[in-house]
C-alpha cells in the first residue's frame, strides 16, 4: 500500500511539474542565449502569467493619469518597438509637451539604469516618474492606488497575481508593471538569427556589420548595442538639458545622455534624446559631418584630431542595411505583448 502511495505521489509531483512547464513557459522570463545576464531582481518579483497580464493591462490603462487620458502605451507603441513615432517630444495630459523623446522599452530586464539621464536605478522605479511628472501623467501614486482599489476588476486581478495581499499598494502595482516590461525581450531579429547560426546576412548587411564594428561598436557595444554609459555625442555646444549632469551634479557630465540600444532602430524614429533627427540618414550625417566640439564631447567622436566619424556615402548605406537587420518582427508581432 505504501508503495502505491509513493508511486501516486510521484505521479502527482511529475504531473505538477509538467503542467507547470507547459502552462507557464510562455509567461516566464527566459534569457536569450547570446544575451548578458539580466539586471532585474527576479528573486523579489518572479514573473507569473497573472502578474504579466495585470502589468499589460495597467500599461495600456489611462487610469494611471490624472484625467484618465494618457496610458503608458500612448508614448510606447508596440508596433514601433514601444516608442512614439509621432512626436519628437511626447505629449502628456492636456497635450503638454515633455522634454525628451520616449525611448524604446525593449530589453529593459538587462539595463542597469533607466531614462536618458540614468536617473532611474531600478525598473520598478521607472513608472512613478511618468505617472507623477506634471508633463506626462501628472497624477499621484497614492491616487492611482486609490482608483485601482475602487475599480470593478483590479482588486480581484491583483489578488490573483499576488497571493495573500489584502489591498492594492503601489509596490505591487510597480511589480506588475515590471513583470510586463521585463518580458519585452527583443532577441529574434535577422541579426540574432545570424548570430545563432539560423540565418545568413546578405553581402551588403555583412559589409555594414563590419563598418559598424569598426566605427560604432565602441559605444553601441555588445548584444544590447549599448555600453550603458553616457556620452555627449556632439549635438550642441550649449546644453539646455544638462542630461547626465542632472543626476551626477557634475559639470563633467553636461550634455551627456545614455547611449541608446540600437535594437529595432529602423522603427524607433525620431532619434536622439530630443527626437531632433527624423531618419537614420540624418543621424549618420550628424556623426560624419555635424559633430560639434564642446568640453564634454565623447572621446570616441574626436579621434586623431578629427571631429565625428569619417563615413563614406557607401559606408553610410551599408550601415543602414545592417541596422535594418536589428528590426525584430517577431517582437513587434508577439501576441503576448
Amino acid at each position: 500500500m505504501k508503495k502505491y502511495l509513493f508511486f501516486l505521489l510521484g505521479l502527482i509531483a511529475f504531473a505538477g511539474c509538467k503542467k507547470d512547464d507547459v502552462g507557464t513557459k510562455k509567461f516566464s522570463f527566459e534569457k536569450p542565449v547570446h544575451f548578458p545576464e539580466p539586471t532585474y531582481t527576479f528573486d523579489k518579483n518572479p514573473v507569473t502569467k497573472e502578474g504579466f497580464e495585470l502589468g499589460k493591462k495597467l500599461f495600456a490603462d489611462p487610469i494611471l493619469s490624472v484625467d484618465n487620458s494618457v496610458a503608458c502605451n500612448n508614448c510606447h507603441v508596440k508596433s514601433v518597438a514601444f516608442t512614439d513615432p509621432q512626436h519628437s517630444l511626447s505629449l502628456g495630459v492636456e497635450e503638454r509637451s515633455g522634454i525628451r523623446n520616449a525611448p524604446s522599452i525593449a530589453n529593459m530586464a538587462f539595463m542597469k539604469e533607466f531614462f536618458w539621464d540614468g536617473g532611474g536605478i531600478h525598473l520598478d522605479f521607472v513608472p512613478p516618474n511618468a505617472i507623477e511628472n506634471p508633463l506626462e501623467m501628472d497624477e499621484k501614486l497614492a491616487h492611482v492606488v486609490y482608483k485601482l482599489n475602487h475599480h470593478s476588476s483590479y482588486p480581484a486581478l491583483f489578488k490573483k497575481a499576488f497571493s495573500g495581499i489584502e489591498t492594492i499598494t503601489a509596490p505591487y502595482m510597480l511589480y506588475a508593471l515590471s513583470q510586463y516590461q521585463v518580458m519585452l525581450v527583443s532577441a529574434s531579429s535577422k541579426y540574432d538569427k545570424y548570430k545563432t547560426g539560423d540565418e545568413m546576412l546578405g553581402a551588403d548587411e555583412l559589409e555594414g556589420l563590419e563598418v559598424f564594428e569598426q566605427k560604432c561598436a565602441a559605444c553601441h557595444s555588445g548584444e544590447l548595442f549599448t555600453n550603458q554609459d553616457y556620452r555627449n555625442n556632439g549635438l550642441d555646444t550649449e546644453f539646455d538639458d544638462p542630461g547626465r549632469a542632472r543626476i551626477t551634479e557634475s559639470d563633467a557630465d553636461l550634455g551627456k545622455f545614455k547611449v541608446p540600444s540600437l535594437r529595432n532602430v529602423a522603427l524607433t524614429a525620431p532619434y536622439m534624446h530630443d527626437g531632433r533627427f527624423k531618419t537614420l540618414e540624418e543621424v549618420l550625417e550628424h556623426y560624419s559631418a555635424g559633430v560639434k566640439q564642446s568640453a564634454t564631447l565623447a572621446p570616441e567622436l574626436q579621434q586623431n584630431g578629427t571631429l565625428g566619424i569619417p563615413l563614406s556615402a557607401t559606408e553610410k548605406q551599408r550601415l543602414i542595411d545592417f541596422l535594418k537587420t536589428l528590426t525584430d518582427y517577431d517582437f513587434i508581432q508577439d501576441q503576448r505583448f
Binding site: T41, H122, N129, A170
Partner: protein, 284 residues
C-alpha cells in the same frame, strides 16, 4: 546494579549540566523602545516642537541668523539600528525590503506621535551603552526595487522619482524672510511667497564618483547602561533639535537658500543634521 547507578549518575549530571547551561544562557531577550523627540532648544531649554498650518504667518522659531520661521512638516528616516554594550553585547535590527513590507526602516513624522516611538524586539539580554543608526535609507533599501511599509513611495512621500532614492529628511515651513517660489512640496501652496523647503537626500555612497552621499551614520554613547531583559521595558530618548539643523559649520540663510531638492544642495544641512541628534536620557 552498578549499571543502574551509573545510569542514574549520568542522568543526574545531565540534568545538572543542562540546568547550569540554562542559567548561564542568561535571561530571555528583551525590548528597547527608542523615542525620537523632536525639539527646539531655545536658550538651553528643550521645548517640544509645534507645527503650524501651511501658510501660517505665526513664526514661533528663530534661526541662528535671527530669521523667523515656522514648521509645517518634519519627517525623516531612521534605519540600520545597532546597539552595543561594554561587555561585547551586540544587537543589530533586522532589515529587509520588498513589496510585502519593510523591516528595520522607521519613518519618524512629527505629526504622527506613534511614529516617533521605535520598538526594538528580541534584543539579547544584557547591558547596552551605545546606539548607532543611519539617518536615511542606504543602497540596500533602494537597489532591489519597489518596497512596501514605510518604504512605499505612494504613502511615505519621501521618494525622488527623477533620481531614484529616498529623501532622508524632509522639512517644510515658512520664513518671513523667504523669497518664495518653492517647488515640488507637499504643504507649500504655489502662491505661498514665504515657503522654505528642505528635502535632504542622496544615498549613492560610491568612492571615485561625483555623487553626493547625504545619509548620516551616527553613534551615541549613553551616560548609563540600559539593562535589557524580558522583565524590563526600558526606554531610550533621543532628541532632534530643529534649530541645530540650521546652524553648524554652515549657517542656513532662509533668504538665499530656501528651496533644496537635490543632493548637492543639501550637503550643508545634512552635515548640520548629523549634529542635531543627541542622546538625552533613559527610563529603566
Amino acid at each position: 546494579m552498578k549499571k543502574l547507578l551509573f545510569l542514574s549518575t549520568l542522568l543526574v549530571s545531565i540534568a545538572f549540566l543542562s540546568a547550569c547551561k540554562k542559567d548561564e544562557d542568561k535571561k530571555d531577550p528583551g525590548t528597547l523602545e527608542i523615542n525620537f523627540d523632536n525639539i527646539a532648544i531655545v536658550n538651553g531649554v528643550e521645548k517640544q516642537l509645534s507645527l503650524v498650518a501651511p501658510g501660517s504667518a505665526d513664526y514661533n522659531y528663530t534661526n541662528e541668523m535671527g530669521q523667523n520661521f515656522n514648521i509645517n512638516l518634519l519627517r525623516y528616516f531612521i534605519s540600520a539600528i545597532e546597539l552595543d554594550g561594554p561587555n561585547g553585547e551586540h544587537f543589530h535590527d533586522e532589515m529587509s525590503a520588498s513589496a510585502s513590507g519593510a523591516k528595520g526602516y522607521y519613518l519618524i513624522d512629527e505629526s504622527i506621535p506613534s511614529s516617533q516611538r521605535v520598538m526594538l524586539e528580541n534584543i539579547p539580554a544584557g547591558n547596552y551603552n551605545k546606539i548607532t543608526f543611519t539617518v536615511g535609507v542606504d543602497s540596500a533599501g533602494v537597489v532591489d526595487g519597489a518596497a512596501g511599509g514605510v518604504l512605499d513611495p505612494a504613502t511615505n512621500k519621501m521618494f525622488w522619482n527623477w533620481n531614484s532614492g529616498y529623501i532622508a529628511l524632509k522639512f517644510e515651513g515658512q520664513s518671513d524672510v523667504s523669497n518664495g517660489g518653492t517647488s515640488g512640496t507637499e504643504t507649500i501652496a504655489d502662491d505661498n511667497q514665504k515657503g522654505i523647503a528642505y528635502h535632504i537626500g542622496g544615498w549613492k555612497n560610491i568612492p571615485g564618483t561625483a555623487f553626493v552621499y547625504n545619509n548620516k551614520q551616527l553613534t551615541f554613547t549613553f551616560d548609563e547602561n540600559v539593562k535589557v531583559e524580558s522583565k524590563n521595558a526600558p526606554e531610550l530618548h533621543m532628541v532632534f533639535d530643529i534649530l541645530s539643523m540650521f546652524k553648524g559649520d554652515k549657517m542656513i540663510d532662509f533668504t538665499g537658500n530656501h528651496n533644496v531638492h537635490k543632493p548637492a544642495d543639501g550637503v550643508d544641512m545634512a552635515n548640520n543634521i548629523a549634529k542635531a541628534f543627541a542622546y538625552d536620557h533613559i527610563h529603566q
